[in-house]
């Protein structure tokens, strides 16, 4: 079995990756299929060193940029050496060809052949020597975070963007789990919802997705539930966020599958990997209904197990790709506006905040979180979040558009805008009747096109 180096990274949320499927050096490529070659933009990354340093510090990452830069220099020096030897070898080959054609003398030819052989060996040795240097540097490089967005709070806690209703300071509220008629909770992996809770679970998800389609001009999709390790690494998703799926006949042992659910941001990446789109389709706006199985995120709402901490939830996921950073900013705003409309119509106490840099994953440059107030916990819990990834993830998965002869990497924005399980829990604790909730986007909220036409015709009767 391949002896892959152990990579320990310290995100704010501790996360250890034992192996990397995203970058495989040539010496290991025989045993491990290279599925994706990320675009490594060294100049772009190290160009704005101060910003990168600030990002590392604000996120509280245990990364010494000086060490990484030293490794980079070593990597560059070796690459330069390799390039020179390859060039020399090519020159010798060319000369040899010319001499043979011109009928040069045997001694000269023999000398050149020997030189060629020696250069070939040098090249081989240099390549072998480069692999560990490359391995060491590239993996550190891939752990460097995205730069921060100017709106991201770098110090202290979150920054409030919007608030709907101030939660009343009521005495202790019973947990939603007390409602045995509607909720049967076994553990974080297993719960059942009955009657109006079950209907709300499906209707709220379908309605919000439809609202994004009809009001926001989003395109609806249905996505796969498994995402392989290579994409989680590309997205810098902590590996313990999701359950790993044990596959019987796994061809590529380091590229295992994880159960993310179709309504996970990572699930969209599968369709975008290596994709090159025409600028005419941008901004590309997608939304989907589906499951989400993010266990780590849910655990933050503990410690007591409840619908707030359950791994599985129905969810609505948004995903937008834009050509520029400013387009990405306005798309994030649009997603938030649509989501705010939805929660306002339900009329539950909620707020939108930008989370502090220390809570971001390395690929995010900004994250806005939609939080509803959970009376039993006496705090806000996340029911959705929208992140800006800049072109950080696109470069890793090669998601681009062509501009003349160049590839522009797309700016990505998105995230789940609804976790039904947590919203239902909060609504029950607020004593809001689920069947009375106004769900924007629901088919019953507005007339269908046929009904509208009929109403129009009726005017002239």
């Amino acid at each position: 079995m391949l002896s892959l180096r152990i990579l320990g990274i310290s995100f704010t949320k501790s996360c250890t990756r034992n192996i990397s499927a995203l970058y495989i050096t040539g010496d290991k490529a025989n045993e491990n299929y290279v599925t994706l070659q990320p675009y490594l933009d060294f100049e772009g990354t190290f160009g704005g060193r101060e910003l990168l340093e600030q990002s590392i510090a604000s996120r509280g990452l245990n990364i010494n940029l000086e060490t990484v830069l030293n490794k980079y220099q070593k990597y560059q020096a070796h690459h330069e050496q390799l390039r020179k030897v390859a060039e020399d070898r090519e020159a010798v080959t060319k000369k040899l060809k010319e001499l043979s054609k011109a009928g040069g003398n045997d001694d000269q030819l023999e000398q050149l052949k020997e030189r060629g052989k020696s250069l070939r060996n040098d090249l081989k040795n240099l390549k072998q020597a480069l692999y560990p240097i490359e391995d060491d540097f590239i993996h550190d490089y891939l752990h460097l975070p995205n730069r921060l967005h100017e709106l991201c709070p770098t110090e202290g806690e979150e920054k409030l963007l919007y608030r709907h209703q101030v939660p009343s300071s009521t005495p202790d509220t019973l947990s939603h789990l007390a409602n045995k008629e509607l909720i049967h909770f076994v553990d974080n992996n297993r719960y059942y919802m009955m009657e109006q809770a079950a209907h709300f679970d499906v209707n709220a998800m379908q309605s919000l997705a439809r609202y994004f389609v009809t009001k926001g001009d989003f395109i609806q999709t249905a996505n796969p539930d498994f995402v392989r390790c290579v994409l989680l690494e590309a997205n810098a998703t902590p590996m313990d966020d999701y359950h790993m799926v044990r596959e019987e006949h796994l061809q590529n042992k380091i590229n295992t599958a994880y159960l993310t659910g179709g309504a996970a941001f990572e699930s969209y990446l599968g369709a975008m990997t290596k994709l090159c789109v025409y600028p005419s389709v941008l901004p590309l706006r997608y939304v989907c209904c589906g499951r989400s199985y993010n266990r780590a995120e849910a655990e933050l709402n503990g410690p007591s197990p409840s619908l707030y901490t359950a791994t599985q939830s129905n969810a609505v996921q948004s995903f937008v790709a834009t050509q520029t950073a400013s387009d990405a900013d306005s798309q994030l705003e649009q997603i938030l506006n649509l989501a705010v409309d939805f929660y306002k119509a339900i009329d539950v106490p909620f707020r939108v905040v930008y989370v502090a840099a220390k809570n971001l994953t390395p690929s995010e440059n900004l994250r806005a979180v939609l939080e509803v107030y959970a009376p039993s916990l006496k705090r806000y819990v996340c029911v959705g979040r929208v992140s800006n990834y800049g072109d950080f993830v696109s470069k890793r998965i090669l998601f681009s558009t062509r501009r003349e002869k160049h590839y522009d990497f797309l700016h990505l924005v998105g995230g789940p805008v609804l976790y039904t399980s947590r919203l239902i829990a909060a609504l029950l604790e607020h004593n809001i009747k689920l069947e009375d909730c106004k769900l924007l986007g629901s088919a019953s909220q507005e007339p269908t096109m046929q009904q509208s036409v009929q109403q129009f015709k009726d005017l002239f009767k």
Binding site: A222, R228, L259, L275, A443, T448
Partner: protein
Amino acid sequence: MKLLTNAVRLRPLLLLRRQRSHDTKTARALDPPRQPVPTSAQLDELERNVKLRHHKNNIPLIRSLANEAANGSPDILKRLQLELEQLPNETHPRVLDYGEEPRELAQYKHRELPADTTIKEFSEIARALNLYRMDHLGNYTGHKSYYLMGQLATLEQAIIQYALQAVTSHGFKLISVPDILPREVIESCGMRTEGERTQVYKLDTGECLSGTSEMALAGFFANKLLTEEQLPLKVTAVSRCYRAETSGLQEEKGIYRVHQFNKVEMFAICTAEQSEAELEEFKDTEVDLFRRLGLNFRLLDMPPCELGAPAYQKYDIEAWMPGRKMWGEISSCSNCTDYQAKRLGIRYRRSSDGQVVDAHTINGTATAIPRLLIALLESYQRGDAVEIPTVLRPFMDGQELITRNKRIPETKLVKFIKA
């Protein structure tokens, strides 16, 4: 109607199976260790059923264990009990002489299909409309994974709404169910979770992914003691189904057999007297769902060898898929009598005498999305577009046609981009 003769003949054998203490948390472990050893005649009868259903024949082993059990060794009795548990359910007498072929009970033709020469297969239609992707995804989202885009994704949700509206109007109560289940719950439903060819996905925690919501629903009702007045208790669930099975068959290409899909399932718990009529109601609900969708389909009564272990009888519905030029199974419903209920401890108190007895369970598919999409798109293709069935239009903002979506990018992939 279940023939009395059959029930009378097999009753002693059923008693044998009833006295098991399952090694699962969910199954009953109440029966006292007093196993009557089956007689040779009873074993002959059981063997006939096993062979008829093409089930793994463990009767020779049971015979030898039964002989050894005479000395009363607890180990032997335990092994005998475990082997008896492996036996399949009884078989409905109506299907005993079917041989190996299902019997076609009816054909429903609701749609005139376009000429053979112009008919396309699902993936061809969906790709041409730019609404589906299945290629080059194995390394990223797994083998046979797929994306539905635009109106095709909306159609999926419309089908779910349509099915839910129909089944809830038939008295089924909606339940949200978990997809991650303990191994024991899945095994109690008659599915193996170990071995080379298991259809069940396992997670790093040792838990399993549900193959159908019937498993989660069965787990929900496990060890529940109901009253007769509560029966028939009918529930429905929308769930994600995960199946590790794979297929290299040409006729099962594309999304015909996939590892993940959405399904609306129906499940009922009822009394022994109700179960046959209940199965007929399941069948009628299914027939009505597909009739209103305007599909051409046939109703099959399945032969013993197609029943699996738990079913006593089973109907399949196969839709005509004109692009594939084949009948494809889009739905089924089974009466499992008390086979599952015994393993799961689902019982009720009989009103007449207050006795606690095993319930019967019925399960059926209202809609399983991928194959229904195949049948719908292939049947409703109209030139470069696809007509949306009338009953689904209210769930799709009154849209009548599915057309090519130019806002969805075509699949143009790069190999690598040089820095």
